[in-house]
């Protein structure tokens, strides 16, 4: 029988030792993390809220559809254990959802959570490099109370999620930038070639050839690169 600690170590290894060249699928990973977190800590349900800086809307992944909607709704309303964690960067201690204090604090959240059979909640921040990028929300039920050990693991799991997210974001960013750079460099090359083609075809100076290319693209509201490529490939004569 493996202990939660050993299972946790396995998740770490999976993530840290996973093939660094293989792109990480953040949604798949975060969903799996939510499901495994629930099993691991013996919670009733578990949700991951992700709200990266600069992103308009948040995303939620959870072990159950009900928990997912609850976590996402709380984020949109800006009120609940997840938003508290994300905004303050502090852990949200275990809270009894049946207490009047909880109901007063989160009037929309608490009735919905109780309807789903959640009687207590706790959350841990997803700690990014410079700011908190989300929260891991753990729900307990009548027969599945959140233990101290469960909450201790909660932070480790939240850290895994944060690292996975940051890696995914960096990968995405560098891929986008590399694509843009290559496009900018090849465009320039094509435009210079097109100037040469046009200059030779019509016995023009390179500057005049460029003026014609640019004029044509502007008049027809087409991209200069596209026009240049057509000229180079002989599909357009100007």
């Amino acid at each position: 029988m493996t202990t939660p600690r050993q299972q946790l170590a396995e998740i770490f290894v999976e993530l840290a030792g996973g093939n660094p060249d293989a792109p990480l699928d953040a949604p798949v990973l975060l969903s799996a993390l939510a499901v495994r977190s629930r099993e691991l800590v013996g919670a009733r349900a578990c949700g991951v809220l992700v709200a990266l800086a600069g992103a308009d809307s948040g995303e939620a992944y959870a072990s159950d559809a009900g928990a997912r909607d609850l976590v996402l709704d709380a984020h949109h309303r800006g009120s609940g254990p997840g938003p508290y964690c994300r905004l303050t960067g502090q852990p949200m201690p275990r809270t009894d959802l049946r207490s009047p204090v909880a109901r007063q604090r989160w009037p929309h959240y608490v009735p919905r959570a109780l309807d789903l059979g959640y009687t207590e909640v706790a959350a841990r921040p997803l700690r990014g490099r410079e700011q908190t990028v989300g929260a891991l929300v753990l729900f307990g039920g009548e027969d599945q109370q959140l233990t101290e050990e469960a909450l201790e693991f909660g932070q480790s799991l939240a850290d895994i999620a944060a690292i996975a997210l940051l890696r995914d974001r960096e990968l995405h960013r560098s891929r986008t930038l590399a694509g843009q750079l290559e496009h900018a460099l090849t465009s320039r090359l094509t435009i210079e070639q097109a100037k040469g083609v046009l200059a030779a075809q019509r016995s023009l100076s390179l500057d005049d050839a460029f003026a014609i290319l640019r004029g044509h693209a502007r008049a027809r509201q087409r991209k200069l690169t596209v026009v240049a490529r057509e000229v180079v490939e002989g599909r357009l004569r100007l």
């Binding site: 480790s156 850290d159 560098s174 590399a178 750079l181 090849t186 210079e192 040469g196 083609v197 030779a200």
Partner: protein, 287 residues
């Protein structure tokens, strides 16, 4: 107009970029410390890896700052009418213990798109690779591994390009790919570097710094602050020759490369002759 026009601004901008790089290094170090603390908890080995990765990032930012500062000093001296016109790659070459280094950016098919060279030798070496389609940079970007070759190896490994490189006086060449997590932007080639350079932490930091300066940093500039050559004239000449010979532009470019190499004329000089109308190419030979 004096030689220093605009270079005082260049120097100031480079000092600013250096300061920003130092700030980024400090932030990465801070984050590494936080992960160190988290790594103290049992089962938190991942944080050790994160801390190590952040320290590598910090080292790249520091290297970046040093290169910017070297460039700033050179631009500052030039602005005051001394020294030689500043080239960013001169500082990169110096950091590698040589005068000759070239940064080459390639497309996904490993064709050269642009080159920034520290001196004439490095530029000529990249032109040779561009003309002959083989050489250390191409091997480094294709294999995504460092390539190190000494004189004898240079001549056998690249039968066309190799002898031309050694004829320039190159005794050793090292080329290292500039890679992001899933793509290769190009390579840094250094000629007659400090012995044992490849494999050192400092060299890896220079390569990491260049990758950030060209692509990843918020103030990244693939033009390397004016030092990048796109071979515009060669591409213009290719367009003209393609019309003259009635062939696709790629064939025209291949013809220009082959002719320039056969005649031992620098590629750019040859292309300038075509563009100026002093030289016209047919499929048979220059006329």
């Amino acid at each position: 107009m004096t030689s220093g026009d605009g270079y005082a601004d260049q120097a100031a901008a480079a000092w600013k970029r250096a300061a920003a790089a130092r700030e980024r290094a400090a932030r990465a170090e801070d984050s590494a410390l936080r992960h160190d603390a988290w790594a103290q908890a049992p089962g938190q080995e991942l944080h050790e890896d994160m801390a190590a990765a952040l320290r590598r990032t910090a080292a790249c930012h520091r290297s970046s700052a040093q290169l910017q500062e070297a460039f700033a000093r050179r631009a500052g001296r030039w602005a005051q009418g001394g020294g030689t016109p500043p080239r960013f790659m001169t500082g990169v070459a110096e950091a590698c213990g040589t005068r000759s280094a070239a940064l080459t950016l390639v497309d996904t098919a490993q064709s050269q798109l642009a080159v920034a060279a520290s001196d004439e030798l490095a530029g000529t070496a990249q032109d040779l690779e561009f003309m002959l389609g083989e050489g250390p940079t191409r091997d480094a970007t294709t294999s995504r591994r460092p390539v190190v070759a000494s004189r004898a190896v240079i001549e056998t490994r690249w039968p066309c390009c190799g002898p031309a490189l050694t004829a320039l006086g190159v005794r050793e060449v090292a080329a290292v790919p500039l890679s992001t997590s899933d793509s290769c932007l190009g390579a840094l080639a250094v000629f007659d570097p400090r012995p044992g350079l490849v494999g050192t932490r400092a060299f890896a930091d220079v390569v990491g710094a260049l990758t950030r300066m060209v692509l990843l940093d918020p103030d990244a500039d693939p033009e390397l602050y004016g030092g990048t050559d796109h071979r515009d004239v060669v591409q213009q000449a290719a367009g003209m020759v393609s019309v003259h010979i009635g062939r696709p532009v790629d064939d025209a470019l291949a013809l220009i490369k082959a002719r320039a190499f056969a005649l031992s004329v620098p590629l750019e000089t040859f292309a300038r002759g075509i563009v100026a109308g002093d030289l016209s190419l047919t499929s048979e030979g220059p006329s």
